[in-house]
Symmetry: C2
Subunit: 188 residues, 2 copies
Amino acid sequence: MNDKRTQLLEASIDLFADEGFWNTPTARIARHAGVATGTLFNYFESKDVLIDEVYMQLKHEWMHHIMQNFPQNGTIKEQIEHIWFRHIDWGLGFPRRYALKQQLALSDLVSDEVQQRQQEALAFGFEIVERGMADGLFVPISAEYFGMLMVANLDAAVQYASAHHLKDMALTRHITTSFEIFWRGVTN
Amino acid sequence: MNDKRTQLLEASIDLFADEGFWNTPTARIARHAGVATGTLFNYFESKDVLIDEVYMQLKHEWMHHIMQNFPQNGTIKEQIEHIWFRHIDWGLGFPRRYALKQQLALSDLVSDEVQQRQQEALAFGFEIVERGMADGLFVPISAEYFGMLMVANLDAAVQYASAHHLKDMALTRHITTSFEIFWRGVTN
DNA sequence: TCCGATATTGACTGACCAGTCAGTTTTTGT
DNA sequence: ACAAAAACTGACTGGTCAGTCAATATCGGA
């Protein structure tokens, strides 16, 4: 019965996103999840590990969303474009989760160990980039910087679309444009 | 004698950057500045307004750095390139200040009013972009999105250079490359 | 020099909160 | 059905911290 565990994680995500970590007492998380204060600490050793678990959960959901229908046999451009669209789709579909994941990634609330582990899960992405580099497809930069640029551009695209409530055609156009700008930039 | 005021701001910047806002008690700020607890509240109504003032201070310093030797009569590309180099120069020259400014910009610790005011100070930048748009120089996107992309790319460039301790030629090459990638992306 | 105004001090207060634990309820195995 | 284990409860504790304020020090004008 990890039902309560899920409820606690869900409550944490809601409250952390809306109020910020420092403004959400564990007591409120428990209440929001419909359990007693003490119960939270049966499932999570401390508030710190709760944060770690929330972060892992979000990263996992994000990864899952990104990888759905991934074109394993597509071209590099198709693969990156797929990630582009799916990432933005997730960001707009789950704005609170997206914002929280971003905040957690910057703040040093997440333990080094967890951050390390999450980084390793992105290895497949680096492979794609390295392959593109080998083909002379990209401007000569490190895969690391390529990844950083991609994330930076994606974040900006999501933030803009979100702030302006873009929908339907306007949204599609925006996503396409944002990708084109990125692609033209990193491509020879 | 706003000497103490400056000391308090400086101490706040140091401690906020190193320990995080929520982990630095006002008492420690006061001690670090060499004054008593109560004195801090003579200069700043509350911890919240202290944060506002810190943010304004950082933005102001940043703006000042950016605008030094600004090529008023240069081409649009020269002007944006100038901002590019100066921004990165500031980020690498004052890493703690840069990190703190970024953190504050994301967190909602800064009051809406101050955030608003700071936004207005960037008006001159929007003018440059609008001019470029009118000339058909840029891809057709809003000046707002252009600005977001620029900031996103700059942040990535600073973060990368900072993490890898780039210096001298390697640094110059990196800055140039980062600008080229951005410019090629947003330009027709 | 003297005095009122202003700045500074730091012990103190009231509120908050992470984490505990003794007691209670629920589950599990036989 | 029963007992032992496991899960759950929430009042409580020890510690922290923003902001106060009465007492003290410093300053500036006459």
